[in-house]
């Protein structure tokens, strides 16, 4: 029983990361119909912003060494700038483009970011010590839970509540929701397209930065391809949860985290290295029965 609860907390913690990443992706998809394959690389960028540019294997912290109340906003700001630049340089001209074009464009953008990081920081993964004091365990009843996992779950809850309040209560949030539902009609009512889109990219950037910080604290490593599996799992989360729905992205994220941790815990030893393959297989099976995802939205259905 204890083991199961321990695994449950693991699942919530991992699921939080996927949910955050999924939210970042879902936001842009909802408003722009953009599948941003570069989101993982925004995360990587946020992570690498923490250290001094160098080829060393042992990373020297730069912004990563600042107190958290400075580090958080600065990293967030950097990633937001990267996201807004991406919109300005690449996606703005592609507003009318087809979905495959947007996909390839974001894939190319991600590739450029990845390889630039590779050029500047080298190919070897780096070790980094971020908030390692949080690895200490806290006792909850009979459970021993690393503080970091609680922080991850807590931070995710705070961010989700914040986003929810923003979308539900502020005028900008209402505008974004309206734009996500019917972009053209929103413009006919005076809502500035580029502003709403910029807002979406900015929020997506903030989410990416937070995901980066939590991810780096948990794994203690940086590599130029670190964003790829995150991006992939986040996309799987949105597909499973139901594309176009923010709630779906969160549900999907936790679902994927849950399946992943449970497989890790309960798969026979020699199959454990294939865990990711199993996760994806489970996902594909789910999609066989519910192709539109677990939380259906009417967003994508084509009316005949």
């Amino acid at each position: 029983m204890i083991g199961f609860l321990q695994n449950l907390i693991d699942a919530l913690s991992l699921g939080s990361l996927y949910a955050l990443a999924g939210l970042g992706i879902g936001l842009l998809f909802g408003i722009l119909r953009l599948t941003n394959f570069a989101h993982g690389d925004f995360i990587t960028f946020g992570a690498y912003a923490l250290i001094v540019p160098s080829l060393d294997v042992m990373a020297t912290k730069f912004i990563g060494g600042w107190p958290w109340y400075l580090m958080l906003p600065v990293v967030a700001a950097l990633v937001v700038v990267m996201a807004l630049l991406s919109d300005l340089l690449v996606f703005r001209k592609l507003r009318q483009a087809s979905a495959p074009t947007l996909m390839i464009a974001s894939f190319a953008l991600g590739y450029i970011i990845q390889n630039t990081i590779l050029m500047v920081y080298g190919a070897r993964p780096k070790a980094i010590d971020m908030w390692s004091n949080l690895q200490q365990q806290v006792a909850i009843g009979e459970l021993r839970v690393p503080q970091l996992q609680l922080v991850t779950i807590g931070a995710t809850v705070v961010l989700m509540v914040g986003l929810s309040l923003f979308l539900g209560r502020t005028s900008y949030g209402v505008q974004m929701r309206a734009a996500a539902e019917d972009f053209r009609m929103a413009r006919y009512l005076g809502i500035r397209a580029n502003f709403v889109i910029g807002l979406a990219f900015a929020i997506s950037g903030v989410l990416a930065a937070m995901t980066a910080l939590l991810f780096v604290s948990q794994t203690g490593t940086l590599s130029h391809m670190m964003g790829v599996p995150l991006m992939l799992f986040a996309f799987i989360a949105t597909v499973i949860g139901g594309m176009g729905s923010l709630v779906g992205a969160v549900v999907g994220g936790f679902a994927v985290g849950f399946v992943s941790v449970m497989l890790q815990a309960y798969l026979p030893e020699d199959l454990r290295s294939f865990r990711d393959a199993f996760v994806f297989t489970v996902v594909i099976v789910v999609l066989l029965f519910r192709p539109s995802g677990l939380v259906p939205t009417k967003a994508l259905a084509q009316r005949v």
């Binding site: 209402v174 929701r177 309206a178 019917d182 929103a186 006919y188 005076g190 009417k298």
Partner: protein, 253 residues
């Protein structure tokens, strides 16, 4: 107030408008009539900035609208209620209404207008916190008109207000439009399929077919409906309908 001069609009290779010219004077009610595919919606979309004409000009009180994004045109005082209502179904009625007012500088004015709209459309007040997707067709039509009015327009364009609604509801919608025109000093440009309604409400009528204006006159001159029918269907003498212009009621496709 609004001058459209010889605009041409293409969708790819399809010529939707081939030289359409329309004027609307301040305070008027002008109606565009015509069969499906004639270009009525395209005309309104061109004015509102949804499509761009590749030739011709559109001027609002002397200021050119061509090439401006839709949001800018709305801020100049032109509001479009597109065909099919387009409520934001997952937003509440209150949020739908408020959206129109977000771009306005005068917050107080927007809040006052919000109350005014609820006064015009009391049924909406009962449903303020409901998702707009749950409203009936007639209520949605009221909502989108109120929402468009929240942008404080001088020119309101409505595309097929009667589509999919029971005739009684349509009557209500038109009554409200006309009373708003009086109380708020609006100018109205309306697309209609039913020439009967058009003859009742319009000051001037344009008949479109095949992307061109086939007929343009004051409504008072067209009351027998014959000229409209000819222009609408595009052929000559028609046997006189048994009960006069009433038989034209609801001339849809």
């Amino acid at each position: 107030m609004l001058e459209i001069d010889n605009i041409h609009v293409n969708y790819g290779r399809l010529q939707a408008l081939r030289g359409v010219s329309i004027t609307v004077a301040e305070g008027e009610v002008v109606c565009l009539v015509g069969p499906n595919g004639a270009g009525k919606s395209t005309t309104l979309a061109a004015i509102a900035g949804g499509v761009t004409p590749h030739a011709g000009s559109i001027k609002l009180q002397g200021r050119s609208l061509v090439g401006l994004p839709p949001e800018a045109i709305t801020r100049l005082g032109v509001s479009l209620v597109p065909e099919g209502r387009h409520v934001f179904a997952t937003l509440t009625v209150a949020e739908n209404l408020r959206i129109g007012g977000f771009q306005r500088r005068d917050r107080g004015g927007a809040a006052a207008d919000f109350e005014r709209m609820l006064g015009h459309f009391p049924r909406l007040r009962e449903r303020l916190q409901q998702p707009a997707g749950q409203l009936s067709g007639g209520e949605q039509q009221m909502l989108v008109i109120g929402r468009a009015l929240m942008t404080r327009p001088r020119l309101v364009m409505v595309d097929e207000p009667s589509l999919g609604l029971a005739p009684m509801i349509v009557d209500q919608v038109y009554e409200i439009l006309l009373s708003l025109r009086r109380s708020d000093g609006l100018t109205l440009l309306i697309n209609e399929q039913s020439s009967k309604r058009v003859l009742q409400f319009a000051d001037r009528i344009y008949v479109l077919r095949g992307g061109r204006i086939q007929l343009h006159d004051r409504a008072s001159n067209l009351q027998d409906g014959k000229a409209i029918m000819e222009a609408y269907f595009g052929f000559g003498e028609q046997p006189a309908p048994a009960t006069g212009s009433a038989a034209l009621g609801g001339v849809a496709e």
